[in-house]
Symmetry: C2
Subunit: 210 residues, 2 copies
Amino acid sequence: MKLYGYYRSSCSYRVRIVLNLKGIEVEHVPVHLVRGGGEQFAPDFVAKNPMAQVPLLELDSGERLAQSVAIVEYLEETVPTPPLLPHEPIARARVRALVEMVNSGIQPLQNTRVLGELTNRGVDPGEWGRLFVRLGLEAIERTAAASAGQFLVGDALTLADVYLVPQLYNGRRFGVDLSPFPTLLRVEAACLALPAFDRARPERQPDAEP
Amino acid sequence: MKLYGYYRSSCSYRVRIVLNLKGIEVEHVPVHLVRGGGEQFAPDFVAKNPMAQVPLLELDSGERLAQSVAIVEYLEETVPTPPLLPHEPIARARVRALVEMVNSGIQPLQNTRVLGELTNRGVDPGEWGRLFVRLGLEAIERTAAASAGQFLVGDALTLADVYLVPQLYNGRRFGVDLSPFPTLLRVEAACLALPAFDRARPERQPDAEP
């Protein structure tokens, strides 16, 4: 398998964590999202993913999967150990809701394309990014306060944690004050103590820049 | 079961379609997202959903589920007939990728909160909404051109179709020219010919306004 990704892309970071947790070895192919106007727009990459986005998981069969939730649900279904969703349907829904609060509620509002369009319209992208990261994390902190044990939903690691950690990384890049989110910071520390998370960190990737 | 929703909310519309397809009867509880500053912010609703968002599905047990993907995956797991995801993992990933292209790639960029923040910053929310709806639908049209049969992924109805139809409804509200999306319009027509979709349309809801 090949994972086309970018060290700082929070969506690539999520997939790296899941691959590490499941013990799946892949070849990492860096796609620099900024350099030269973005390597994701190069014809040979667009031929692979018409969306011009990372992450993109290329299976040994040649099949290519895009969009992080679709990819991690595929990995969960095909490599079920260790499980990253609980067994019970209501608990699964709680995990997926937290995933969606990051994946739809925060990340899309602070991605590179959106920030560029804001800048073109005279809006400060930093202030915008901080606002929506903060609002989203406030909602997740409130939700997690009711569900968290050692991790966001009880004491077992789930996809909710996999989505949280890269979003906190993005929050720091935007300069968001994370001190109002004690539950999230506690869970983040528990995650980053695990080798699968640590090895997935942006600064540990071969394409990381100083 | 109770579904707290709003007739024009595309996220509520998705859940209505799935409930209808699965033959699940629910009590519909309207939450007007505009009137009086938004009924979703009323203390009695916030007590039910701290996110102050619809849709919210309240089970007979009193458990409450938020976020549309989490809700529809729960319904798929607990009421498997008719299936709205294919059996085969790669096909499931293709469906979930299309769901995510709507759920994370388009809808969050054109929801009420975001448009309000844009207006506050002097940005034309209509032009912004049209841009991101168009970009997202272009990507879905390209993807669907390779996967579609009678529906977006082959000849069986899936969650991808459930997410498409409300997004096209939103696109029309923004005044997006949909003529460049022949595959999507063809699939939409096939969906709306089904009673489960027709009964879920915003204008058929008891809280619909003229």
